[in-house]
Amino acid sequence: QQQVKQSPQSLIVQKGGISIINCAYENTAFDYFPWYQQFPGKGPALLIAIRPDVSEKKEGRFTISFNKSAKQFSLHIMDSQPGDSATYFCAASHTWPGQNFVFGPGTRLSVLP
């Protein structure tokens, strides 16, 4: 029940295209869903996050779509750029002071110039 599933494992997109990464969870107690971006040799960095009281959150070219009934959420990267090439992790957690974060296995995104 603590698992977060993520797909695809890897993704290749042309510059200017839309990158879509999907995640699913089981535990309905999760109420915070962040996405992290990790470049090689660096630690993950928070990209964007959403709570289940909204269905979508947009920050620049990055959008999270959230479907509470399906227990799914996704990251959309519009106008993908080569600089977006990185590994993306979705995660889920309980409201403070709850448990630790549960991370998906990651998606390696490559944006071709």
Binding site: K42, G43, L46, T95, W96, P97, N100, G106, R108
Partner: protein
């Protein structure tokens, strides 16, 4: 302001030796996490400290692994009798609110 600081950044050790990895969280952050990331893999939870509460050690893979957090700040992850399968990046993270967590750049451990 300074981010999460980890040391050493790289460590090569012989099989069977003990290693200590240090984490300095962001000042004022009450939550501290340790994760392990094998090459090209996801983030494996190890241990979680929150204030003065007993730590959540449910992710530690064996009794060779231990961690402590002194004074609610600096944390040390200790791996005893290292094995080759312990080779990985050990990531520390801290949080002020249990939601947004900030990662360090990791300690790369290689056991030869």
């Amino acid at each position: 302001g300074a981010g999460v600081s980890q040391s050493p950044s790289n460590k090569v050790t012989e099989k069977g030796k003990d290693v200590e990895l240090r984490c300095d969280p962001i000042s004022g952050h009450t939550a501290l996490y340790w994760y392990r990331q094998s090459l090209g893999q996801g983030l494996e939870f190890l241990i979680y400290f929150q204030g003065n509460s007993a730590p959540d050690k449910s992710g530690l893979p064996s009794d060779r692994f231990s961690a402590e957090r002194t004074g609610g700040s600096v944390s040390t992850l200790t791996i005893q009798r290292t094995q080759q399968e312990d080779s990985a990046v050990y990531l520390c993270a801290s949080s002020p609110d249990g939601n947004t967590i900030y990662f360090g750049e990791g300690s790369w451990l290689t056991v030869v």
